[in-house]
Symmetry: C2
Subunit: 199 residues, 2 copies
């Protein structure tokens, strides 16, 4: 099987991906019905008709069944699609907003539900924040490339930190005001950062 991404392999992986998505669906439903902590991995596995062993083969920890997503490539694409005439902060801002705008209503509903769960369950919140750390690194790399610096440049790191911090503050607020428009909240917050955090 030297040709790395053979059609067969693609099939195999696609099947796996489908199974994982099913597990995630069942998990989200159970979390909604019973609460996160009251739902055991065993129950999720049973609902998805897999063994607990397989669950942990798919997801290294219980939290991951809720937290795993594929937004990174979306963000990267959205960022790199921004015209180079924009400042880095403007580019990040528009990338976020356009990435959200590209989501369907169904996706957005799931994002909202996930966000509420994440913020309200300490373990999930902690793990999600940990993930944001990687997103921070990602932003640092994207911005570094754009402005021709190294990702560990102090200014670049600080930039990425501030952006992620603003994201966190929006996430926390949104969880308690789910009727607000997430994209709008984020857009406004980043515009304030752009304006030098006026008070």
């Amino acid at each position: 099987m030297s040709p790395e991404d053979k059609r067969t392999m693609g099939l195999r992986e696609r099947k796996k991906a489908k199974a994982m998505a099913a597990v995630q669906m069942h998990a989200l439903r159970l979390f909604r019905e019973l609460g996160y902590n009251a739902t055991t991995v065993e129950q999720i596995a049973e609902a998805a008709e897999i063994s607990p062993s397989t669950f942990f083969r798919y997801f290294p920890a219980k939290e991951d069944v809720l937290l795993r997503d594929n937004y990174d490539p979306v963000l990267v694409a959205a960022f790199e699609a921004q015209p180079s005439s924009l400042s880095p902060l403007q580019a990040v801002r528009r990338a976020f907003v356009s990435a959200i705008a590209d989501m369907s209503a169904d996706e957005l509903a799931i994002v909202r539900e996930r966000d509420q769960l994440i913020v309200s369950v300490p373990e999930l919140r902690a793990a999600a924040l940990n993930n944001l750390t990687q997103t921070m690194q990602l932003i640092a790399e994207l911005v570094a490339k754009r402005v021709g610096r190294k990702p560990d440049d102090a200014a670049v790191r600080t930039f990425a930190g501030a952006v992620i911090g603003v994201n966190i503050s929006v996430m926390l607020y949104y969880a308690e005001h789910p009727d607000a428009d997430f994209a709008e909240l984020l857009d406004e917050a980043l515009s304030k950062l752009e304006a030098g955090l006026p008070l």
Copy 2:
């Protein structure tokens, strides 16, 4: 015992605080010697000569034995000691720096060791980030009071988010460059935020 903080009660609580500090000491030592995950709560309890039950009575989770600290009041005091002529961001910046400057060399050494452990162990990192969320709320409250707005004001929240985000980026960097001066790193990072995140 109507007079709430009787001397006797103070004694009792002081004793407890001392016991807890001893547990933390032993835990840190064991983490250093064996690694965080390889150290069991049972071992910590044994070293500190308490029962595992008591450990969990002191610290709700294993992580807390490393993460619990009392820097909040220090930060509050440092912030409120800043002259009102300073901008909120300047005040926060100086508050952080002066709070760090007030620490002894021993304290700083522990901070460094803790920081390295926290950043390198995912569970600790996640829990620490979760704690920073509370610090974010604290900053929002302090700043809100200072500028006469509500803590959930959008500008205030965004401000606090950016500040915490910058803190996180510094923490992550410092863990991998422990020879750097933490206060200086933070001071520079916050100055960049003040300058509008130049790139």
